[in-house]
Each structure stands twice: as structure tokens, then as C-alpha cells.
Amino acid sequence: MTRKPLSRKTKSARRARPPAQPLRSRKPNDVSALAAAGVKALALPVEPAWHATIVCNLQLLLKHAALIDGFALPDESEPAPVFRA
């Protein structure tokens, strides 16, 4: 089935500034070091056998995070959750 595209253009944030230094994909060793340090800092009882999977998951999360980090937003942007007093 052929459908007609709706003609609309999405404006990116008009007053956005590019992020100062976008997150680059890290080397596996960097992520491994981050995971090892994080586990210590947070006092998590991680067994050595779990480390590789944690690193793998962290790498995936950082890949997703890089997409967000690379998106320019104005300094005045409000985060979504709003506390109502």
C-alpha cells in the first residue's frame, strides 16, 4: 500500500548549542575500568565471573547515552519530571 507522507518539518531546538564535547565511543578497557571502579565505589559485591556481562551491559547503555549526549538542547531546557509542591 502506498501512503502519502504528511509534509511537516521538525525543527530542532532553535536556541540549542552543540554539546561542548560529545561523548565518544569508549574502548572496552575504559568501560571495564569504569565498571570495576563503580562496583568498588558503590560497595557492590560483584563476583569476577559477572564482570564481563556487566561491562557488556554498560557498553550498551553508554552507546544509548551517546545518542542523547550528542543532541543539542538549550541551556534553559527543563527535565521532564516536575515536582509539584
Binding site: R3, L6, R8, A35, V55, L61, H64, L67, D69, P79
Partner: protein, 470 residues
Amino acid sequence: MLETTAFDFAWMTAGDIAAAFASGRASAASIVEAAFARIRARDPLINSFTALTEERARLRARALDDARARGEPLPPLAGVPFAVKNLFDIAGLPTVAGSKINRDFPPAARDATLIERLEAAGAILVGALNMGEYAYDFTGENVHDGPARNPHDLARMTGGSSSGSAAAVAGGLVPFALGSDTNGSIRVPSSLCGLFGLKPTYGRLSRARTFPFSASFDHVGPLARSARDLAITYDAMQGDDPDDPVCAERNAEAATPVLDRGLDGLRVAVASGYFKCRAAEPVYAIDRIAAALGANRDIEIPEAERARSAAYIITASEAASLHLGRLRTRAKDFDPATRDRLIAGAMLPASLVTKAQKFRRWYQREVLKLFSEVDAILAPATPCPAPLIGQQMFKLGDSELPVRANLGIYTQPISFIGLPVVVAPVPLSPLPIGVQIICAPWREDVALRIAHALEQQGVAAAQRPPVQQR
């Protein structure tokens, strides 16, 4: 009074069961006994229930039978059995949330708000349902309770994390069930098990006394075998609730009275770009539904891929925060697949999570503009029909992707900003698949109206699965 065997309640809708009870053709006691008989006979195959509430269900049924005998007015769901994902508090039971750890919790003191509201509407709770551990799951597999099995093919996944909810309804054990949806956990199992599912607007239905997952995105809602049952149950659950700080202070807006209005004047478009799926089944399902609705326009949801990424990291971070204490004290009692993702989530820098929440605001503003041009947007619910239990990878176009992380690729960018969605099941052979009908905030009525119209046309249907044996 007719005997239980006079009706096959298994495949009746909630509305039909309530009508049979109200008219005196069936007693609540007989309906409930038939439900427990079906569960005992069929659930060993599909593994959807983790607890039964037989005593309270029988008491409730007797009270309803007595009320009817006294000629009292009957509420809309009187006599209808239902069950809930085991993250809903049920008084007297620990709220396990699919985990081993929570089995040590004390029994809940009070039912979740939505159970109270459904019982006030006459429905009868018959038990708690299997789910992915702590709802961090799209597959329906659970190392502690075993996988719920897809009634359309017992070797296949139900999808998750509301796995037992989908299996119990698709398997004819109850006419409707409650699930939760943070990133797709109602919509993915609805698609894989061929059911109608409603993820309402964020803040529409109370989450009070349910075990959380990621507070920014947690929703609750029903799964059923007809759009009308979704509407009836949804209407019974609406309303403000001070026990859930996210629940909107908003009057109930009943969807059932407008269900039969049809498609008149509704503008429907198909999501393009990121949502343009290259797999045969979702494409067929979308085309079929688009043709039935006369949806001949495409519309681009901007930055959907980024939205999915932002949902991914906010979820990981909030879930890690929720479970940090348990990760310290009982790490070995988690499913390793859940544990290792939670630990990774704990390492995410807060600066990136905050940026994701800022992006969420920007994305919401852009997406809401689309609803000045259309009333509903169609998108696939899942990128494929039900994979095999244990399957690690699936093909999407030319790519091979991990099943666990990617069954929700089309649902995550939508729940990210809390839009209401009804999944309409398209009956395909051998396995069904669902389509998301996405609407503007607070317009569940439009999504339900469209799903009901598709059902009336025979395009969407919750097909009865073949009888299966393991």
C-alpha cells in the same frame, strides 16, 4: 439456576459473563468454580498463575449471589473473574514482582487501588500471575517460576514482562487481566499472544500499591480479548488517587459510551521513518489495519530512535536506584540477566540521565504537535511474532538483533512520553501480531474506538488458540 457446564465461560467476554450473571443465567459461584477448574486443567501447560485466591473469590462470589437474590442493583463487572500481574498488592500475599527476593516480604496489608476498584465494580479476583523478574523483561522468561508459555504455541514466548497476564487471557483462563507497562510490558505480550491491550496515558490509572520498576515510565492497564472489555474495565478503574502521586487529578472520562461511534471523522496516519519495519508480519499487519481505516498518510515521529535510547538509560538508572540495596545484600538471589543490567545501570553518570530527561521534554513537545494533524498514529507493536522460548537473536531486515533488548523497540519511544496506546491484534497464521494505535494524551477513548471499529470489521481479533499439548 443453570449448572456451570451450561456455559463455556472460557471464551466469553467479560461483558457477556456479566450479562449472564445479571440475567440469572449463571451464578457467580458457578462462574468462579469454572475459572478454577480451567486454571487447574490448563495452567500446568501455560504456567501463567503463581498464586490462586480461591477462598476470597468464593466469598466474593457468594456475596454477589446474595446481592442478586436480594434484588440489589448489580455493578457492571458483577461475576467476572480476573487476575493480576504479581506486582499488584493482594492483601494477605507477599508482592513477589517475579522475584525470589520479594517472597520474603511480609504479606500485603491491603489490595492495590485497581483491584479495589475492579472489585467495587463486581469483578472477582482469582489469582496472581507470572511475570519477568522485577518487570525488567520483554521475553516472559523467569528463572524462578519458569516461563509463561504462549497459548498459540507452547514452545514460544509470551513476551513480557506481563507474561502471565497475556498467557492467562489468551489461554481462556480469565477474560481479562491487569499488567504493567514501563517500556512495552503490556503491548509486547498483547502483540505476541494476540490480545487487545491498553497502556493508558501516564498518570491516568493509579499505580498505588504496585511494586515499581522505573517511576518515570510505570503505567498499569488491562489486557483482554475484546476492545469493549478493555473499555469496560478501564472505565471501572479510572479516577484520581491520592495514594499515587503521579495519578492525575482528573475526572473519569468514560470510553464505553463512545465506543460505537465508529471512525467517523478520525484522521489516522502511519508512523514512518524509525517505525518503518522491514519484517513481513508487522508490515502485513500495519498495511491491513491502515487499509481498513483508510489511513493513506505517513507521518514521521521525530527523533524516535533517540527517544528509545533515552528511555533505555532512564529505565536502567531508575531501576538500579530502586534495587541498589538488594544488589548489595542479595545479589545472588536475582536472575543473573536482571542483576547484571541493574549493576550496569548503577554506573551511569547522573549527568547523562538528566540530559535524557531534558530530551524527553523536548521530544514530548515535538510529538504532541503531530496531534494537530492526526487523531491517531499506527505503528508496529513488536518487530516479529513470538520467538521461541530461549531464543537469543532474531532477524530484522538484514540485521540480527538480541531478542531480550529489542522486542520493545517500537513501544519504548511511545511510553517514553506517556501517550495512550491500544494494541489491536491481527490474526495471522501461525502466530498473531499486534499494531499500536497511538493517540494524544488523555484520548484513550479514540484509541479504543478505533480498536473496536477494527474488531467490528473483522480486521482485528483475539483468535482462540488451537488446543495444545506439551
